[in-house]
């Protein structure tokens, strides 16, 4: 345990920013405003200065509601998007500026599992083709038998009968497809897996199967996870640490147990209380007021202040920075810092 703490993080995200242009091309940027023609470029601020470390062997969960930029973070780390600002460092080497060819060795170490198992498998490829292709691509010198052995091995390890290899994805159920998608990620023997809402499209009984599979793989293969989800009950079970995101900024980052025992940020508290529990007799959640601001024009100050009951004048002007707390968590909130929130 101690050894883990002193290690350099496997992945470092530093001041990461991503903006998407809303107006493409010159003509769209020209607008009529109050009788005058102006050039105006609107942007969606998906991720705003996010700093995170992922330690080797842990499962870091990113939680947040739709539009909080959690999927964008996953895609940035996976190299599917280029950051507008900031850096991503993998094992001491900056990877966000690499070309596709330079990135290739990292592709073997870093894989991704997607949300929708109905879209993440190529419908025109058999399971065998889908699993063989990455093995051959990354190990061109492997013999045909070696490739076949590898495919059989990963299929077994995710609980899919290798005899089903000649079939097409549409012949499988959602849970089985997600297993196959996990198998495809495992074909290259990665050490780090980005999972973007891997169970949210699945039924409850199947969710448990896939989560168990991912936990098993973590133990057997020593995987590190970046797990994106909106479902807090999954986080409690799966995550080592949790990062709560709101409008692309970090609200709270702490150990899972700490977060669930003692949530500090007002948003984390609201989020936790909103999860319906089996022993609830009636809805009993912290009501958030106001509307969610759009990430197009980011409010000044704290992004959460429009819905926060503790917001004051300082929150309107000064953006809170994540500050370490006595129990080791990081919280970005003026109210917490000023001790204005009563403890639970």
């Amino acid at each position: 345990m101690k050894n883990e703490m002193t290690q350099t993080p496997l992945l470092q995200i530093d001041a990461l920013e991503k903006r998407f242009a809303l107006d493409h091309g010159f003509l769209e940027t020209v607008k009529l405003r109050k009788g005058r023609i102006r050039r105006e470029k609107r942007e969606v601020h998906a991720v705003n200065g996010l700093t995170l470390d992922i330690k080797r062997g842990e499962a870091l969960c990113i939680v947040g509601e739709s539009g909080c930029g959690k999927s964008t973070v996953a895609r940035l780390v996976a190299g599917l998007l280029n950051p507008s600002n900031g850096s991503i460092t993998y094992d001491g080497k900056r990877i966000d500026t690499l070309t596709r060819r330079e990135m290739l060795p990292y592709r073997r170490k870093m894989q991704m599992i997607f949300q929708n198992p109905y879209a993440s498998l190529n419908p025109r490829m058999t399971i065998e083709q889908a699993l063989t292709e990455p093995v051959k691509h990354h190990h061109p010198d492997l013999s045909a038998q070696g490739v076949r052995d590898k495919v059989v091995e990963v299929m077994r390890s995710v609980g899919v009968d290798p005899a089903w290899a000649p079939r097409y994805p549409h012949e499988f159920s959602g849970g089985q497809r997600q297993r196959i998608a996990i198998a495809r990620a495992l074909t290259v023997d990665p050490e780090f897996i980005i999972a973007d809402e891997p169970i949210s499209a699945l039924d409850v009984s199947i969710q448990a199967q896939v989560l168990n599979l991912m936990l098993e793989a973590q133990v057997e293969r020593g995987l590190t996870y970046l797990f994106i989800t909106h479902d807090l009950s999954v986080v409690q079970h799966f995550g080592t640490r949790v990062a709560v995101l709101y409008l692309g900024t970090l609200c709270e980052l702490s150990d899972t147990a700490t977060l669930f025992a003692n949530p500090k940020h007002p948003y984390t508290r609201a989020l936790l209380s909103a999860v319906p529990k089996l022993d609830d007799q009636a809805p009993n959640h912290i009501r958030l007021r106001g509307e969610i601001p759009t990430p197009i024009d980011m409010p000044q100050g704290c992004p959460f202040r429009s819905r926060c009951t503790y917001a004051n004048d300082r929150c309107a002007v000064e953006r809170p920075v994540p500050a370490p707390q006595p129990d080791g968590s990081l919280v970005a909130c003026h109210a917490v810092e000023e001790d204005r929130i009563e403890t639970v």
Partner: protein
């Protein structure tokens, strides 16, 4: 579970076809079945023309000017001659019309298919690159397509063929007419493919399997060809049918205008054109019979295309 499995494997191809959506809709659609039968019959006859045809229309020695303008055998007008050798009669050079139509259909089909293959090659490559790369490349290629589409196919073809005919002289032109025709019809219609392919690529590109392929480190060409292209085949298939029909019509029109196949190498178009001047002198069959063949051929291809479009459009078969 195991029961279902063994069933799957013991099925023959035919059973699989019957069970598939395509097969089911084909077998329950009379128009599609009849069109397919007629189309296959025409294609088989055209392909085996040298075996079926009693005469070789390319061989001048088999033509006798004395046999010219013979009527079809069932048509015995007061001033018409018939000869049981010539089932559909003969044309003005004494060529057997039945043989000429078989060879002509063969040539027309060949030009149509080759021209469409060229269109498809150009259009699919450009469409894939345009859709996948996006940005400025996309804008540039699509504006090129717009420009190409703003000239009508026939206009481009007429200008091109007239210029080449004048440039090379009609003897050289006639010898290579088939290549000129394929090239001009192929080049002038590629935007149809490019636009369709680009649209499907844009839709497919957003799907997660493309992201997965990128994360696995595959290169852009591999992703385009191995992953996206196979998922875009349905619309390509549908437009191909329509385009073959269009190309056959274009070829016929150009030949009719004297810019296509020479009379010595009859295509359906040049047969129609060659007989046109005799239509008022009573020899209607020289132009009409190839005309009917052309209409039937184009019609069945279009009917098959309509049927395919309905089957392959997922929005239609859900309801």
């Amino acid at each position: 579970m195991s029961n279902v499995e063994s069933n799957l494997h013991s099925q023959t191809r035919w059973q699989k076809f019957r069970a598939s959506n395509l097969g089911y809709s084909f077998l329950s659609n009379k128009v599609a079945m009849i069109s397919m039968a007629v189309f296959v019959a025409i294609v088989v006859m055209a392909v085996f023309a040298p075996l079926i045809a009693p005469f070789d229309p390319y061989d001048p020695r088999q033509q006798d000017i004395m046999n010219s303008e013979m009527a079809p055998i069932w048509w015995a007008g007061p001033r018409d001659f018939t000869d049981p050798q010539f089932i559909l009669g003969t044309d003005a050079q004494g060529r057997d019309l039945w043989s000429a139509i078989l060879y002509g259909t063969r040539l027309s089909l060949m030009i149509g298919v080759c021209a469409v293959a060229l269109q498809a090659f150009l259009g699919i490559s450009i469409g894939l690159i345009s859709g996948y790369v996006g940005g400025r490349t996309d804008s540039l290629l699509m504006r090129l397509a717009d420009i190409q589409l703003s000239f009508s196919t026939l206009m481009v073809a007429i200008i091109f063929l007239a210029v080449t005919q004048a440039l090379f002289g009609s003897e050289v032109f006639n010898r290579y007419a088939i290549f000129f025709l394929i090239a001009v019809i192929g080049v002038s219609e590629w935007p149809q493919y490019a636009r369709t392919v680009r649209a499907t690529v844009l839709a497919e590109k957003k799907k997660e399997y493309v992201d997965a392929a990128q994360v696995l480190g595959f290169g852009p060409i591999r992703i385009m060809v191995r992953h996206i292209l196979p998922n875009s085949v349905s619309p390509i298939f549908v437009i191909s049918t329509v385009q073959v029909a269009n190309a056959i019509i274009s070829e016929a029109s150009l030949s009719f205008l004297g810019l296509g196949m020479p009379v010595s190498q009859p295509s359906l178009g040049s047969l129609i054109s060659g007989g046109f001047e005799f239509i008022f002198s009573g020899s209607w069959w020289i132009t009409t019979i190839p005309g009917v063949v052309l209409v039937v051929l184009v019609l069945v291809i279009n009917l098959l295309g309509d049927w395919l479009r309905d089957v392959l459009n997922p929005k239609l078969y859900k309801g």
